[in-house]
């Protein structure tokens, strides 16, 4: 067994190591403190403005659209149920392309701005067509 003083020496090294590790691991956080860019302004299409209401209210959609899409996906693909009834009793076809992106057909100004801002890169559009009307 290593002697006692050597063991203690290691302990200091360990503490120093943990400190360095935590500082490094936290790099993105302290590096960006006080430097966050202003939230982007998103633009609605005329169709979206005319519709007034989305599937759910604006705040819910801003925060939770990914959760909603996730349960929609499972409902459609796995359970074969394609209609969503929102709390107001309005029915929607659960289709990212044919419902969501039909209204929000301006991907760059609507989806991408926030996704870029929050630095997420969902790959929905690899398969789901962003503008089903093709204009």
């Amino acid at each position: 067994m290593p002697n006692n003083s050597k063991g203690m020496y290691n302990k200091n090294l360990v503490i120093a190591g943990i400190v360095i590790f935590v500082i490094l691991a936290a790099f993105p956080f302290w590096f960006n403190v006080g430097r966050s860019a202003p939230a982007p302004e998103i633009i609605l299409t005329e169709k979206a403005i005319a519709a007034e209401d989305c599937v759910r209210d604006k705040e819910y959609m801003t925060l939770e659209h990914m959760q909603l899409l996730d349960v929609w996906r499972d409902a459609v693909v796995r359970d074969g149920k394609r209609i969503y009834v929102n709390p107001k009793g309005v029915e929607f076809n659960m289709s990212l392309s044919n419902t969501c992106l039909d209204c929000h057909s301006n991907k760059e100004e609507f989806c991408d701005r926030c996704h870029d801002y929050t630095s997420v890169s969902p790959y929905c559009w690899d398969c789901h067509i962003d503008n089903p009307q093709g204009d």
Binding site: M8, K11, N12, I15, A16, I18, V19, V22, I23, A26, F29, W30, V33, Y60, L63, E64, Q67, V71, R73, A75, V77, R78, D79, G80, K81, R82, I83, Y84, V85, P87, M94, S97, N98, Y123, D126, C127, H128, I129, N131, P132, Q133, G134
Partner: protein, 264 residues
């Protein structure tokens, strides 16, 4: 002396740890949870949707005279589902296509068969087996048999591309996206999704059309070659055809129980 230096290092270390970690905690504290608990969402099917206990297909090969009679089936399917036309044969994506009797039914093949059968192109597709081996082997349940109507469905979101199902399928009905198919779709159907590279795909018995009350695309343009209906309903069109004609299925000895029947 030694001990006080050790204590100093410990305290300094813990302090530095706190300084380093604080912005992290702040950030996570700001994000918070996902709001108040949601009531369970309500989902339902359309009233127009076509339903069955187990969808099945009958192929009346007596009505097929040449490749020209079946080519529109394949075109209709591949167009509506954004099936790409890959440049290399080994990367081919096929949902429904033609095979000779010899290849479609290698276990029934004889050297001496009728000229008519030898010449007939047999449309082949996913058999939506009653006992599908592809479903059995999938390690993520990305492919599964839908309990409501027996369709063997692919969840492209979940597929990890291990290709175990290609090994398990005795009919070669599954295709893998070796490249991004996007660049090879001739005419995109904007209403239907594409696939991404690295996932497996196959015929879905047009479940997206059935949900809207429309029969499968291939059946629609088949001029009576294909009949689609409920295998469990003794009065259905497919059951009538099966009752009145001698039908064969592909590789029944494997116990997969295909739901595609052929009248020869």
């Amino acid at each position: 002396m030694k001990s006080s230096r050790r204590n100093f290092l410990k305290i300094a270390g813990i302090a530095a740890l706190g300084v380093g970690a604080k912005p992290v905690f702040d950030t996570f504290a700001a994000v918070g949870g996902h709001g108040p608990t949601e009531p369970a969402p309500i989902f339902k099917s359309s009233e127009e949707a076509l339903t069955a206990n187990h969808w099945a297909m009958v192929v009346d090969t007596r009505k097929i005279r040449s490749e020209r009679d079946v080519a529109p089936l394949f075109r209709a399917c591949h167009q509506v589902h954004n099936v790409p036309d890959m440049p290399l044969k080994r990367h081919e994506i096929k949902w429904i296509w033609a095979e000779s009797f010899h290849h479609a039914f290698p276990d029934l093949h004889s050297e001496l068969i009728s000229d008519k059968i030898a010449r007939t192109p047999f449309p082949v597709l996913c058999n939506h087996c009653e006992n599908p081996p592809c479903v059995r082997v999938c390690p993520t349940k990305a492919t599964f048999k839908r309990e409501s109507d027996g369709i063997v469905v692919m969840d492209y979101h979940r597929c990890i591309g291990c290709r175990f199902c290609l090994a398990a399928c005795p009919y070669g009905a599954r295709s893998f996206n070796f490249f991004n198919p996007d660049d090879y779709i001739k005419e995109v159907n904007l209403k239907f999704a594409k696939r991404t590279k690295g996932v497996v795909e196959k015929c879905n018995f047009c479940e997206e059309r059935l949900a809207e009350g429309i029969i499968p695309a291939c059946v629609e343009v088949s001029n009576g070659i294909l009949t689609f209906g409920d295998l469990r309903d003794s009065r259905s069109s497919v059951r009538k055809l099966i009752a009145e004609n001698f039908t064969i299925r592909r590789k029944v000895h494997l116990g997969t129980s295909p739901a595609v029947y052929y009248i020869v």
